[in-house]
C-alpha cells in the first residue's frame, strides 16, 4: 500500500489577527493509505468540518502542509482548483446544491466542469450510477421530486462522477432514516471497491463507522485525540468516554455481558459480527435449545 494523503502539522485559525480569532485546528498530523476508508469522529465544534475543508483546498492552512499524491497542494496556489478533481468533497446536506432540471444533468455538472463531453460524458454518468446503484429511471426525474434519501444519494453521485481519487464526505448520513443511512453507506463502499479510491467520512454514527471504516480519526477541541484502526479505537471505550463519545451500542451490550463474568471477545462492533459470534458459539454448544 502507498500513502496517498499526508497532513503535516496543520493549524488553522479563523479570523486570525482579530479579536474574534479562533484556532479550530492545532498541529494535526496523520497520513492515509490508498484504498482505506477513514472515519472522522468528534464532538460538534471539534474541527471536523474545518479539517475536511482543507483537504481540497477550500480552506488555506494557517500553518502546516497537505500533501496529496506526494505533492503539497499549495505549492502552486494558482492551480488549487485542479486539486478539486483529485479530492472530491461532499458537503453536509449536499442535496441543497442540486439545481438542474433532471438528475442526469445535475450529475453531469461536475464531469462537464472537468472538460468531459459527448459520449465520454454520457458513459461516465451511466457507469458511475451503475457502480453505486442509482437506477436509470431516476436519471430523468427532476431532483426536486425525489425523496430526501434519494436526493442525498444523487448529490453524492454528482461528486463521485468526477472520479476523485480521494472522496471526502462531511456527515453524509446526517438526518436520514436507517434505510437511507444504509444505502448511503453502501454506495460509499461500492465507490471505493469499484474505483479503488480512498475515502474519508465525518460521522456521528458509531454503528455506521464500525460497519465501514478501516481506521478512525478522533478529534477533540481542535486536536487529534486518537488515530488508529477502528478495532483499536473501539477497544478503548474508556478513552472515548473521557471526551463524551462512545462505542457502538452492540459493543456496550457485549461489555455488559463480559462484566457478568461470561467470556466474550472485545472486538465485536457490529450487529452482524455479534450475531455471527453468538451463532457459532451456540452451534459449538450444540444449539441453544439443545
Amino acid at each position: 500500500m502507498s500513502t496517498i494523503l499526508q497532513v503535516k502539522d496543520l493549524t488553522h485559525t479563523y479570523n486570525a489577527d482579530t479579536p474574534l480569532a479562533k484556532t479550530a485546528l492545532k498541529n494535526i498530523s496523520f497520513s492515509v493509505e490508498k484504498g482505506e476508508i477513514v472515519g472522522i469522529i468528534g464532538h460538534t465544534g471539534s474541527g471536523k468540518t474545518t479539517l475536511v475543508g482543507h483537504l481540497n483546498g477550500l480552506l488555506k492552512p494557517t500553518s502546516g502542509e497537505i500533501i496529496v499524491d506526494g505533492k503539497n497542494i499549495w505549492d502552486e496556489p494558482k492551480k488549487i482548483s485542479k486539486i478539486r478533481s483529485l479530492v472530491g468533497l461532499v458537503f453536509q446536506y449536499p442535496e441543497y446544491q442540486l439545481f438542474e432540471e433532471t438528475v442526469y444533468k445535475d450529475i453531469a455538472f461536475g464531469p462537464k466542469n472537468l472538460g468531459l463531453s459527448g459520449d465520454e460524458l454520457d458513459n461516465r454518468i451511466r457507469e458511475t450510477c451503475k457502480a453505486v446503484s442509482i437506477k436509470e429511471d431516476l436519471l430523468y426525474k427532476s431532483p426536486f421530486d425525489l425523496s430526501g434519501g434519494e436526493k442525498r444519494r444523487v448529490a453524492i453521485a454528482g461528486v463521485m462522477a468526477m472520479l476523485p481519487k480521494i472522496l471526502v464526505l462531511d456527515e453524509p448520513v446526517a438526518g436520514l432514516d436507517p434505510a437511507g443511512r444504509n444505502s448511503v453507506i453502501k454506495m460509499i463502499e461500492d465507490y471505493r471497491d469499484t474505483y479503488n479510491a480512498t475515502v474519508m467520512i465525518v460521522s456521528h454514527n458509531m454503528e455506521n463507522m464500525a460497519q465501514i471504516a478501516d481506521k478512525l480519526l478522533v478529534m477533540n477541541k481542535g486536536e487529534l485525540y486518537m488515530y488508529d484502526t477502528t478495532e483499536n479505537v473501539f477497544k478503548r471505550g474508556e478513552k472515548l468516554r473521557e471526551i463524551g463519545l462512545n462505542v457502538p451500542i452492540v459493543t456496550r451490550v457485549i461489555d455488559v455481558i463480559r462484566q457478568k463474568g461470561i467470556d466474550v471477545p472485545d472486538n465485536i462492533f457490529t450487529v452482524e459480527s455479534a450475531v455471527e459470534y453468538i451463532t457459532s458459539k451456540s452451534q459449538k454448544a450444540g444449539g441453544l435449545d439443545a
Partner: protein
C-alpha cells in the same frame, strides 16, 4: 469576502447607545444621513467623521467589526472615487497623459466621496449592531403608525415585520451563499474566469439553490410563527412598551448640535464641491 458583511447583525455590548429607544435611534440615523449629504466641504465632512468616531467609541462595538463592512464594499468605494477622479476637471492639472487628466479638484472630490460613503455605511451599521430585531420592529412600527390615519393601519405592522425579517436574514443569506458557492466549487465550478457570458451562466448553479432554500426558509419561518399563534398585528399587545427617557433627549440634543455644526462649517468655509 462574503463573510465580512456584518451589517444586519446585533452585537451585545450594553453601551449607552444600546439603551436608547429604537425610535430615537431611527430618527437620529435619518437625521445624520441627511446632514451627512449636506456636508459641502472637507471641514464639515471632517466634523462628521469625528462625530462618527465618537459614536463608535460610545457603542463599544470593536472598530474591527465596523471596518469589516468597508472591506466588503471597497469595490463601490473605489469605483465611485475613480469615476470622480477621472471626471473632475477643476483646479490645477496634476497629471495628463493620453486622454486622461487628473486635477486637484478630481482628487479632492474622489477623497470626499469615498469618505462620505464610508461614513454612511458605518453610521447605518451602528443601528443594527446596537438594536435587537425585536426593538427595531417595534420602533419602525411605532414610527409608521401615523399611516393608520390614511387607512393603512394593517400594513404598518406588516411592513415593520417584513423589514425586520429582511434585516435579520442578511447574515443568514450570506452564510448560505458562501456554503453553496463552496459546494459548487468543489464540483469544479469556475466562478472567476471566463467571458461575461460564462460568468452569468456560472451564477445559475448558485442562484437556483439559493432561491429554493430561501423559499424553504420562508415557509419554515411562516409555519413556526403560526405555530406560536402569530396572526399579524391585530390584537397583539406588547410585553415591553417603548418609552422615551432622559437619555433619548440627551441624544437628540447632541445630534441637533451635530446638525448645527455641519451648517455652521458649511457657511464658514465656502469651498463648495458638489
Amino acid at each position: 469576502m462574503l463573510k465580512d458583511i456584518t451589517f444586519g447583525q446585533y452585537i451585545e455590548t450594553n453601551s449607552p447607545i444600546h439603551k436608547l429607544d429604537p425610535r430615537t435611534k431611527l430618527i437620529l440615523l435619518i437625521l445624520n444621513i441627511v446632514f451627512l449629504f449636506l456636508t459641502k466641504n472637507m471641514y464639515s465632512l471632517a466634523f462628521a467623521a469625528v462625530f462618527l468616531i465618537t459614536i463608535i467609541l460610545i457603542s463599544k462595538v470593536p472598530l474591527k467589526i465596523y471596518l469589516k463592512n468597508i472591506k466588503a464594499i471597497w469595490f463601490i468605494v473605489v469605483f465611485t472615487s475613480l469615476i470622480n477622479l477621472l471626471y473632475g476637471k477643476t483646479g490645477k492639472t496634476l497629471i495628463s497623459f493620453w486622454k486622461i487628466t487628473i486635477t486637484t479638484g478630481g482628487v479632492y472630490r474622489a477623497l470626499f466621496l469615498a469618505l462620505r460613503i464610508i461614513i454612511l455605511i458605518i453610521i447605518s451599521s451602528v443601528l443594527t449592531y446596537t438594536t435587537t430585531p425585536n426593538d427595531l420592529t417595534d420602533g419602525i412600527e411605532s414610527l409608521l403608525s401615523p399611516l393608520r390615519y390614511i387607512g393603512l393601519g394593517a400594513a404598518v405592522h406588516t411592513i415593520a415585520m417584513m423589514m425586520t425579517i429582511a434585516l435579520r436574514f442578511i447574515p443568514t443569506l450570506v452564510d448560505e451563499t458562501e456554503k453553496i458557492m463552496n459546494a459548487q466549487k468543489a464540483r469544479g465550478a469556475d466562478l472567476e474566469n471566463g467571458k461575461f457570458r460564462d460568468k452569468i451562466k456560472a451564477l445559475v448553479p448558485i442562484l437556483v439553490p439559493l432561491l429554493i432554500s430561501s423559499i424553504r426558509r420562508a415557509y419554515d419561518l411562516a409555519e413556526a410563527m403560526e405555530c406560536r399563534c402569530y396572526n399579524g398585528g391585530v390584537g397583539r399587545v406588547k410585553m415591553k412598551r417603548l418609552k422615551y427617557g432622559l437619555n433619548d433627549l440627551a441624544a437628540l440634543i447632541v445630534c441637533l448640535l451635530f446638525c448645527a455644526g455641519i451648517i455652521i462649517l458649511n457657511t464658514l468655509f465656502k469651498q463648495v464641491i458638489i
